[in-house]
Amino acid sequence: MTMRFKTIFMAILISCASLGAIPMVQAADDDAVAQAIKARQAGFRLYSFYVGQLFAMAKGEQEYNADLAATLANNLVAVTELSNGMMWLPESDNTARQGKTRALPEIWAADSNIGDKAQTLKDAALGLSLVAGDGLDALRGEIGAVGEACDSCHEDFRAEDF
């Protein structure tokens, strides 16, 4: 193969590769904002995984197990204690990232009380962790406050659909 053919061949190869890269850049589905959105959704899934089993026990859909209940409640406390401010990047609301997130722009408003909502959940989770292993009645007494803390934040700050 001559030098000229090699050059042309390389030129075509490089053009194809860069053309192929354009859609990847445009899709931008794994930039910092996209990663932060996925991370915070994963965090909520974690809440849901722990607290879901506690709700199932409270409603009699899953057998009450004191050790498991205590562990689940402690895990919930642990995840609510994480400082996750870095997941709530600017331009990561549901108008900037349609179809990817349900986080409403109100979260970032100057008068937003989302911090209070998060604190309410922290307090409720802590209250639950103190009694979750003390029997079904104790669990039932405290778990409502946790669910209502989740509900009240979704009501104000989460869109109905993606």
């Binding site: 209502e148 509900d151 979704h154």
Partner: protein, 202 residues
């Protein structure tokens, strides 16, 4: 027998008639109870009361099914045939609706018939979406929520919330219309829905 002559538009042109059968009257007031309680238990939900929202929803659903049966085999004024009004009847009645005299229809008036159908459709949508709704905060799910994918579940839950708002609007409209008939047209439809006797144009 209730002699209802409280109309100022000349009693001679009207006569009391038994229009609403007992079943539809009991049905209506049970529906009022189940819809109002279901709506309030949904809007102001808590962990300890959410199960009652779902029971109220089942009650509403059962009542809607019974009404559909009654629409085919019930007495003439509640049949779907009587509710299916054409555009010309509707236009004709809408033109006279604001006249200050009782309509005196032996059943639903044409505009009322449209609103009845709308209410029945909206309530059916409400119950059907409710069966697939998920509550990922208080962890109460509709009994069929697990039969569809997560994204469909989220969408149907959103529709459940949306049609709850629509129901609020149409029920307020319904009650306002009843008040309009009472105060403006001097026609007491509520009494008729309780006793069954209605003042009907001869």
């Amino acid at each position: 027998m209730v002699q209802d002559n409280d109309t100022s538009a000349g009693a001679s042109r009207f006569e009391p008639q038994k229009v609403w059968d007992p079943a539809i009257r009991i049905w209506h007031w049970m529906l009022v109870f189940s819809v109002v309680s279901g709506w309030l238990l949904g809007e102001f939900r808590s962990f300890s009361t959410m199960q009652w929202h779902i029971y109220a929803g089942y009650t509403t659903g059962t009542l809607i099914l019974l009404r559909i049966v009654w629409g085919f085999i019930g007495p003439p004024p509640v049949r779907f045939r009587a509710l299916a009004v054409g555009p010309s009847t509707l236009k004709n009645y809408a033109g006279k609706m604001f006249q200050r005299e009782p309509s005196g229809v032996a059943g639903h008036n044409p505009v009322g018939a449209i609103s009845v159908i709308l209410m029945l459709v909206l309530l059916s949508v409400q119950v059907m979406t409710g069966l697939f709704s998920e509550d990922d905060a208080l962890f109460f799910d509709g009994p069929l929520a697990n039969t569809v994918s997560g994204s469909i579940r989220t969408t149907l839950t959103a529709y459940h919330h949306l049609s709850a708002k629509a129901i609020l609007v149409i029920v307020l409209l319904h009650v306002s219309a009843i008040l309009f008939y009472l105060l403006w047209k001097r026609e007491n439809l509520v009494k008729a829905m309780i006793t069954g006797w209605k003042i009907v144009r001869k």
